[in-house]
């Protein structure tokens, strides 16, 4: 339903003030107070607290929908049995303003698994209560490869509105969903043809800055990975990997969690779900003591296979937005665009498949 309108700077300032006054949480990239070079998605009370276009926020939007730890239920042992009280699954309305397009897209990618064998009520309550206004990305560096995974710095995917900076500090607003239209409707004016043409040019320029980083990943890559599960390359590529899982913590699409019961005293406790990561040994440790992924080579392989083969074969798309956070933050110097490019070169080199 994409249509283009014009949103003035004043219109956006007024919108934020109006939303905050009405009790809607507004979240935007903000400079971290202790480190000016760092930007995080945080609640704001007025627009000038936001830091648009400064740097890629250090962490993606994931934690706003799947917090690192959250309570699922409270329990109490009584004489008659166990009393359970579940947490409410309604979410407060909120608007995310100035999201990086790949971070918005990640949520839609993860929606598949969150509605696969069960519908995750907490995830979707937050998804439905949130309106996402993205901003054309010009923060790309050598670790980015969104265009290789079917997205782009100008992508609409997962956004309700995409803003492209325009004349006079205003924006050309691409209205992507009815939710986006409902949010901005009163604040919009007609976009002039010149403004729209400039916005289209800016979108295509931004795309060109990422494209050279990695060629588009072909559909056959997924099958090649599945067939080359026992290739020696998994061992050599993963030698420098510490298995620390910082990549998974910062990944917008890594969504695995662990569920634990924590007693607080003798009669009551909480059931929580906590982020988990396939990069740690404990993730696949069996009760018997056997671990099917005994070394980092198997764990690293799992990560690449899940993102580029298992998820695509199940849900039709890659579980990666090419945001580059894993590479930028790896203490061991692992570089995902380099790894994918090496694997793609091997895949293209020939039909040779290692026997299982």
């Amino acid at each position: 339903m994409t249509q283009q309108r014009f949103l003035s700077h004043e219109g956006l300032v007024a919108l934020v003030t109006k939303l905050v006054a009405a009790g809607t949480q507004v979240i935007a990239p903000v400079r971290a107070s202790d480190d000016v070079e760092q930007v995080d998605y945080r609640p704001i009370s007025k627009l000038d607290e936001a830091a648009f276009g400064v740097r890629l926020p250090r962490r993606p939007l994931k934690e706003l929908f799947l917090p690192p730890t959250e309570v699922l239920l409270y329990y109490r042992q009584t004489k008659d049995g166990v009393e359970i009280s579940e947490v409410p699954t309604n979410a407060r309305p909120r608007v995310i303003l100035g999201a990086v397009p790949c971070d918005a897209a990640a949520l839609e990618v993860v929606d598949h698994v969150m509605s696969w064998d069960y519908k995750d009520e907490l995830w979707f309550a937050r998804r439905e209560a949130t309106t996402i206004v993205s901003l054309l990305c010009n923060l790309m560096d050598a670790a980015c490869f969104c265009t290789a995974v079917g997205l782009g710095p100008e992508s609409f995917r997962g956004s309700d509105v995409l803003l492209v900076p325009s004349e006079g500090g205003g924006y050309v607003a691409y209205i992507v969903t009815p939710k986006g239209e409902a949010l901005l409707n009163d604040s919009l004016a007609e976009a002039s043809e010149a403004a729209f043409a400039a916005a289209e040019a800016a979108r295509s320029e931004a795309r060109k800055k990422v494209e050279p980083n990695l060629p588009s990943i072909p559909a056959e890559f997924s099958q090649w990975l599945a067939k080359n599960f026992n290739d020696p390359i998994w061992k050599t590529l993963s030698l420098r990997c510490h298995g620390c899982g910082a990549c998974a913590a910062l990944c917008p699409t890594c969504h695995c969690f662990d569920i634990v019961d924590e007693h607080d005293g003798s009669e009551q406790g909480v059931r929580r779900r906590n982020w988990d990561s396939c990069q740690t040994a404990k993730f696949t440790m069996h009760a018997s003591g056997h671990n099917p992924r005994a070394t980092q080579a198997e764990r690293f392989r799992q990560k690449v296979q899940h993102k580029f083969s298992i998820y695509p074969s199940r849900f039709g798309e890659i579980l990666c937005t090419g945001c580059g956070r894993c590479s930028r933050n790896c203490p061991g110097g692992m570089d995902l665009p380099e790894i994918v490019s090496e694997l793609m070169a091997k895949a293209q080199a020939g039909p040779e498949v290692n026997k299982q």
């Binding site: 480190d35 760092q38 962490r59 690192p68 730890t69 050598a142 670790a143 061992k235 050599t236 993963s238 030698l239 420098r240 510490h242 298995g243 620390c244 899982g245 910082a246 998974a248 913590a249 910062l250 662990d258 634990v260 924590e262 929580r272 906590n274 982020w275 990561s277 740690t280 040994a281 404990k282 440790m285 005994a294 070394t295 980092q296 080579a297 590479s327 930028r328 933050n329 203490p331 061991g332 110097g333 570089d335 665009p337 380099e338």
Partner: protein
């Protein structure tokens, strides 16, 4: 660095070692490399950007590396203390290693950086370095460079914390530790976290909450640094790995600084030294027993 490349080539060609663990220029700054083919030795470099403590890769948990065969490892004087620690605690055999010591005049804080060494860019751990020339080595390379500049940031942090009341200090650490997401990246990147099963991974009983709540975070980080007593060498791999930028090295420094006067012990590059936790001494002060 030709000298390093030639030595590595010789060790691999003659079959003295099967892999050389060193540094290379990666797509994002300098990073660890594992050279198994003599033809790849030209990848090896050593300069101020070689930040990583490679001793982490000798950790016995790194089976795929151990399976490559006998290793040669490039170590700075500071990293030699971790290698010594692993030998001392029987995690790696001295004879299974060829140690290539490199004289070092300080490294940058950021391995992706390319700045000259100044009091702002140099790693906080390089100030007052006494091991520019590693003592624990089989080969020793390079000229002795001048002393590195001093980055005062860490000592300023320590001084500020020491001025605080216990309640204020508690508040500071609670703020820092509340950010911990329990990914355990600090543990995995640490050369001295070599336990086959970490207490944090035990579930029967569950000693430590796995949730990223302040209670569990405090318990986890306190336990980890206490287990670093007599082991911590201030290589800051934990702090570098932390996706939340928690000053974990600062926390461990407090433990190391508490161990030093009480046990007359600093984790050194002498593999034969007796660790405070590994020895019983009748003259231990035991000031905590009243």
């Amino acid at each position: 660095m030709k000298e390093l490349q030639e030595l590595a080539r010789k060790l691999l060609t003659e079959g003295t070692v099967k892999v050389v663990i060193g540094y290379e220029q990666g797509p994002r700054g300098v990073r660890p490399v594992f050279v198994t083919d003599a033809a790849d030795c030209e990848k090896l470099i050593f300069d101020r950007r070689c930040v990583t403590n490679l001793a982490t890769y000798l950790n016995p948990r790194r089976k795929p590396i151990a399976q490559l065969g006998k290793a040669a490892i490039v170590v700075k004087g500071c990293d030699a203390r971790s290698v010594a620690g692993l030998i001392r605690e029987k995690q790696v055999e001295r004879d299974s290693l060829a140690i290539i010591g490199v004289r070092c005049g300080g490294v940058l804080e950021d391995p992706e950086g390319d700045a000259e060494l100044t009091s702002e860019t140099v790693s906080v751990r390089c100030g007052g370095c006494e091991v520019r020339e590693p003592k624990l080595h089989d080969y020793l390379l390079g000229e002795l460079p001048p002393e590195p500049p001093v980055n005062p940031r860490r000592n300023e942090q320590i001084a500020a914390l020491m001025k605080m009341s216990p309640a204020e200090r508690r508040k500071y650490w609670d703020e820092q530790l509340s950010r911990c997401i329990r990914c355990h990246a600090c543990r995995e990147a640490c050369p001295m976290c070599f336990c086959v099963q970490c207490t944090a991974d035990k579930s029967q009983p569950q000693w430590i909450d796995t949730s990223a709540t302040l209670r569990g975070n405090r318990a986890w980080q306190t336990m980890r640094v206490l287990h670093q007593a007599g082991r911590y060498v201030d290589c800051l791999e934990c702090e570098r790995a932390c996706p939340e930028h928690i000053p974990l090295g600062l926390l461990a420094r407090f433990v190391a600084d508490s161990v030093e006067p009480r046990f007359d012990y600093v984790a050194s590059d002498d593999p034969a030294a007796c660790t405070p936790m590994g020895v019983f001494r009748t003259d231990d002060e035991e000031e905590f027993i009243r």
